[in-house]
Symmetry: C2
Subunit: 137 residues, 2 copies
Amino acid sequence: MHSTIKDLALCFKLILMDIQNTQSQMRKGVLEFCILSIIQQGEVYPSDIVEKMKLANLHILEGTLYPLLTRLKNAGLLNYRWVESISGPPRKYFVMTDEGKAAFGILLQTWKEMVTAVDQLTSPTTNITEPTTEVVS
Amino acid sequence: MHSTIKDLALCFKLILMDIQNTQSQMRKGVLEFCILSIIQQGEVYPSDIVEKMKLANLHILEGTLYPLLTRLKNAGLLNYRWVESISGPPRKYFVMTDEGKAAFGILLQTWKEMVTAVDQLTSPTTNITEPTTEVVS
DNA sequence: TATAATATATTGTAAATCAATGTATTATAT
DNA sequence: ATATAATACATTGATTTACAATATATTATA
């Protein structure tokens, strides 16, 4: 039970790592939902999505985005069309299908319900039920 | 371009699978945050956590929970103590460390910021910026 | 004594993100 | 005319993680 500076530094590092990990998990969880949300609001190509996500502090890399868009396209939620660019190679502009819009509606409801659930879990005032054995330290 | 009943059924199935997958991702993203939130509100043992999560419609399995608790304990956010039970084997009651409480405070802020960001992404009314090339079909 | 219920814990599999890299096209500088 | 830079789509390998199934141990009950 002798804490050296090294012990404290290690402890701090581990906690910081876990915080960053948990933050990362949170953001990952809503990636697909956010991307559908962005596309639902208008035709965009991948770099648009990366930029909009970055503005929302929800960074996504191309290695994540391209397979995801392909998956959503194969699932029937998205479609794309090629558009020539004046400053580089042609772009793949993505739009939502009718099925995609329907799916997004469901996911929007899921998101709202989850936020409500998490907020209730998080706020101690609503903790009416008392199933735990309260033991004072 | 001839849609049979089979085609439609496959299409529906794929969309349903993606919806469920996205819902699952959302829930996964907040698992660790919710578990910290539950423990922060009082001493609990794993089955308590499973039950509280189930009530919030955020199901978690034991195979997920035990490694997660071990990770949080090793990171210094949690501690536990054994408590004898009158109806089975002894239970591991988990409590938060001071470091854990500090970490939770940061994560709570992250959660709130993320909800704000996602809600803004989701609401089309705030879509003031117009970087996309609007092309009518 | 055997079975059921409770509780902690591990293992193997599948899915997803990330970092790094690859390929191709267009504009710009030399 | 050629080389470089910028833009854009795309893939690969490694790591992480949640899940399903299963294992181990303890207590109560039939």
